[in-house]
Structure formats: structure tokens, C-alpha cells
Amino acid sequence: MNTITLKKNFFSLISDYAYKNKTFLFITFITPPLAWLGIVYLGSLLILLMHSFFYLDGFTGQIVYKFSFQTLIELFTQRANIDIIIRTIGMASSVTIGSAIIGFPVAYYMAKFTGKKTKAIFYIAVMLPLWSSYLVRVYSWKLILAKEGIINWTFEKLHFSWFLDLVLSLPIIGGPSLSISYIGMFLVFTFIWLPFMIIPIQAALERVPNNLLDASSDLGATPNYTFYKIILPLAMPGIAAGSIFTFSLTLGDYIIPYIIGTSKFFIGQAVYTHQGVAGNIPLAAAFSIVPIIVMGIYIFIAKRLGAFDAL
């Protein structure tokens, strides 16, 4: 009769123990990443946020390490700071809505109407922009949107310059050219973050079984009704995930507002300037609280509206 010889060295003993004792195995594997995320990342983030309770001495320009609400009050009372916050949230919201509207049909087509090959091509096409440098993409958009750029040129050749001029003459969102206006900034933000919207929606739609759509139609629902009552609610977790990406990425970005657009600040730029040149780390820290609060409220509302019910 054959017997299986069991190895009894140190490693096999550990492996046997881990096989039997799953908690031990779990702790061993989860501790390093948790330590990284918890201590290094969240820890430093907390320290930064704590700085918002310190303040800058008006005379010496030194940080005063005493607990105070002075900086936060300054953030939410000074007109310039409030404008920055409103401007950033406004842009982030429009970019999110814009990407969702543009991204949804693409995601739907990818999830429901493509074969293996076409789907792969779509994946590559959606992800391809991410392979090139972020700065390169933004600068190329600067050229595309510039007064001498291809968009202006096309409108000119088609004798539609008047239309572009009309759009650019709109108050607030207009400007001297697309590359120096909120419209241009919106276009660039939407383009740059679009993959982050398409992929989660596509993944959510992929999980919606086709027979649910058949069932809805079978029960008398028009395609329109099926879209609003079945497809959209079931795609909501994907839309929510995608919008969290586009919203938070826009909230924190400082490169696009710096390269495209006007000289008016966004939150990212404010943080960048205050902690760098101005040396006002407390105010920078206070500014960086804003996206966290806004995202918190956003996710809370999304959850309340049932965006994650179909998860």
C-alpha cells in the first residue's frame, strides 16, 4: 500500500496552520496594505487636515500651532474663497453631468451590442488616451481650442464663425477664445475624465441580464419606459461610481484650470498656491477639506436616492 509522506518542515507547518486557521491567514495578508493605507496615506491626510485648525500670524507670516477656527472662518467668509469653491463645484458638477450624458451611450453600446472583437477595440479606444501623459493631452487640447486651432479653423471654413463667437460671447462661461473660457475647460475636463465614467457604467450594464429587458418589453413597456425603469436604475451604481471619479478628479485638479481657462482660481490651484508660494499651509489644508465634505454629501445623497440599491 502506498502512503503519502507528509513533509514536516517549518514552512509546511506554517502552511498547514494557515490552512486551518483562516483568521491568521487573513491578518497576514491584509496587514501590510492596511498599514500602508491606514498609517501612511490616511495618517498624513489627517495631519494635513489638522493644519486647518491652525492659523497664520498676520504680522510674522508664521504658522501658529494653536487650535482655532480662524482659518476655517476665513475660508467660508471671504468672498474670493467662496467664489473659488462655487466655481470649482459648478465646474465639477457640469463635467460630471456632461461625461455621464456622453459616456452612457458609449457604455451601453459596449455592453449590449458588441461582440468580443469590437468590445476589445472599444476598450482600447476608451483607455488609449490614458496611455499618453496627462500633460501632453492637456497641452494638445490647448492647441486644439486656441484661436489659431483646428476648431476655430473648421468653424471659419464652414462660415459658422458667427456661431462660435455667439457662444463665446455668453456671459460667465464665454471668453476671448475656447482655450481661455469655462466652455473650453469643460470640454477638456470632460474629455480627460470620460474613461473613468464609461468603464464603470459599462461594467454595471454588462451585469444587467438581457432577459430583464426582454421581460420588461414582454410586460408591455415601451423601450423608453424600459430605459427609465429598468436600465437606468440598474446602471445607477455604475453611474454613481463614474461620477464619483469625474467629480472628485475635477474638484482636486489644478493643471487644467492652470493651462486652459481664465486666471480665476479653482480649489486645486488655491491649495497649490497657499501651501507653496504663500506658505499658508492652514488655509491650503482648509481648502482641501472642501472636496472631502462635498464628496461626503454627494455620496450620502446618492445613497439616499438609492443609487447603490442595485449593487
Binding site: D214, A215, L219, A221, P223, I230, A310
Partner: protein, 329 residues
């Protein structure tokens, strides 16, 4: 008798595969009609064409005399019970069942009333507010059934509705489905690969094989006088003897089949029309009977029934009467 559903010269091609080849079918109003066949035989495709989820490449679909070949599903007065139920995961049981009422803009109170009534009929009273993922397979089945029945459709299509249930539950649901069909007096078109299910429930059966309908008949006729060896083999257990073996050993010029229950083990010198012998290669206990598998000297397998087990390799003489064989062309 009015025709509920009629298919005329229906052909369907999927990715170069001929799923349906020139199928013709007439189903009367109030009938319990089964589409029976192995997987890939075209029975589900046929159902989808009736429901409108698929369009035929050729041919016409009629519902109560109206041509609906190009009419989308939401305009057809048929409802479907799906194989894996297709319940909407983001809605409660009540919302699922009331879905079609909501579409038809029926008042809230009327909706609730009708949902309550239909839940009573499918024996799920008080389940309105449950989430669908809290239900067992059998309960999901009942919800799917209620959702389709609440519309009071003239024709109900059922796509292997009991396929995912265990045997006991399946037998129970078979009875309930029959009762519901009589109670609502609607046409059931029932897709199944389970010949037992089709035989026990249907008024008529269409047997599908590789995109063709081989026979449309009552369960008894399908079982007792199958038109092809495929049907004889697929419906119930049988022994099919091909043409060569038939002509070499049984003085018959055509292929034929003989069912196990018609074969007797010869103990005395009783006279049978056909005699044969073989050695036992398998003896299976089946509850009421033993199923004995034999191999003859000319390499033909026979399945016969016996009240007692036999040793492997033991030799058995068996025979049957002329009247019990089914001859194929």
C-alpha cells in the same frame, strides 16, 4: 376552434446555424401545447419568435389571426415566464408583479388589489414587500408566473419554467400549472426538454429536432406511435434496432423500435413472435423495477425491465410480440 398562434414557414439563422428550418405550427386557443426537444433543437428560438424577442429570417407569425411578424414584444398580447425568472432585482415582489399594471396607468388602489389577488392564487399572500433575492427558487417561479398572469394574457409562453427546481417541487408545480391553466382558461405554450413533463401535462406536443418539427400529436400518440426513431428514442426509453441488424437478425427490412415494458424474459416455452438472447452488462435498481442492459451476440444493446436483478454476464433469453414493435421508414 380558433387558432391562438400560427407559424408559417418560419426560418431562423443564427451565425450561420440554421436554428429553425421552415417550421409550421398551429396552436388552438386554450390548448396546453408543449415544444419538446433536446437543447439546441430550436424550441426556445421558436418561443422567442412567438414572443417577439427574435425576428424570423423568413415566414410569418399570427396571433389570433393577426400577422405580428414585425410587431415588437410590448405590442403583442402574449406574456412570457422566463427560464431564470428574469425578476427585476431592484423592485419588491409587489412592484415586480404590478409592473404591467403600472405601465397601463391603472390606479394605485386597483394595482394593490390585483397584486393581492394574484399573490393569493400563486399561494404567496403577504409577500408584496419582500425583495426578490430573499425568495427561494420555487417562490421566484411563482412570482414570475404571477407577473405574467396578472395581465390576463390570451397566450402564456413558458420557457423551461421548472428547469431549476428540484424533483419534488417540480412535480408539485406541474400540477399547479395545470390547475392555473384551467382556471384562467388560457393557451399555454410550454418549452421543455423533459419528456416526462411534456407527456404528463400537455394536450399536444411538438417534438423538435435540429430545427425541424418531427411530429405534432397528443402525448399518447407521440409515445405509442412515434413517427421517427429520434422521437421513439427521445420520448421514453426504447430499443431502436437499425435496418442492417433488423434485416440480418429479425427478418424485417426496416428499422424498428421496441419499448422495454413490451419485452418479456422467457422462462418457459411460451411463444413470442421474436426471440433473442444476450448477456447482462448492467443491472440497475430503479425502485419499482430493475433495468437490465443486455448485449446480444450481434452487438445490439437491449434495455429490458425485470422484477429481479441478474448477475453481470449471465445469459438471458427474451422475446416480444409483433404488435408491440414500431416500424420506421
Amino acid at each position: 376552434m380558433t387558432l391562438a398562434v400560427e407559424l408559417k414557414n418560419i426560418s431562423k439563422i443564427y451565425d450561420n446555424v440554421n436554428a429553425l428550418k421552415n417550421v409550421n405550427l398551429k396552436i388552438s386557443d386554450g390548448e396546453f401545447f408543449s415544444l419538446l426537444g433536446p437543447s439546441g433543437s430550436g424550441k426556445t428560438t421558436c418561443l422567442k419568435i412567438i414572443a417577439g424577442f427574435e425576428q424570423a429570417n423568413q415566414g410569418y407569425v399570427y396571433l389570433f389571426g393577426d400577422e405580428v411578424s414585425n410587431v415588437p414584444p410590448y405590442k403583442r398580447k402574449v406574456n412570457t415566464v422566463f427560464q431564470d425568472y428574469a425578476l427585476f432585482p431592484h423592485m419588491s415582489v409587489g412592484q415586480n408583479i404590478g409592473y404591467s399594471l403600472k405601465i397601463r396607468n391603472i390606479s394605485k388602489t386597483e394595482q394593490q388589489q390585483q397584486v393581492k389577488e394574484i399573490l393569493e392564487i400563486v399561494k404567496l399572500s403577504g409577500y408584496e414587500d419582500r425583495r426578490t433575492n430573499q425568495l427561494s427558487g420555487g417562490q421566484k417561479q411563482r412570482v414570475a408566473l404571477a407577473r405574467s398572469l396578472i395581465n390576463k394574457p390570451k397566450v402564456l409562453l413558458l420557457d423551461e419554467p421548472l428547469g431549476a427546481l428540484d424533483l419534488k417541487l417540480r412535480e408539485q408545480m406541474q400540477v399547479e400549472l395545470k390547475v392555473l391553466q384551467r382556471q384562467f382558461n388560457i393557451t399555454f405554450i410550454y418549452v421543455t426538454h423533459d419528456q416526462q413533463e411534456a407527456l404528463s401535462m400537455s394536450d399536444r406536443i411538438a417534438v423538435f429536432n435540429e430545427g425541424n418539427i418531427e411530429q405534432v400529436d397528443t402525448p399518447a400518440n407521440i409515445y405509442l406511435s412515434p413517427k421517427s426513431s429520434f422521437i421513439a428514442n427521445f420520448v421514453g426509453t426504447t430499443n431502436v434496432i437499425n435496418k442492417d441488424i433488423a434485416s440480418n437478425n429479425f427478418k424485417l427490412t426496416k428499422s424498428f423500435s421496441i419499448r422495454p415494458e413490451n419485452i418479456s424474459i422467457i422462462k418457459s416455452d411460451k411463444n413470442y413472435d421474436y426471440n433473442c438472447s444476450g448477456s447482462v452488462i448492467e443491472s440497475q435498481f430503479q425502485g419499482s423495477l430493475y433495468k437490465i442492459i443486455l448485449k446480444t451476440s450481434f452487438n445490439q444493446q437491449f434495455i429490458i425491465n425485470s422484477k429481479q436483478p441478474y448477475e453481470i454476464n449471465s445469459n438471458i433469453k427474451f422475446g416480444w410480440f409483433e404488435k408491440d414493435i414500431i416500424i420506421f421508414d
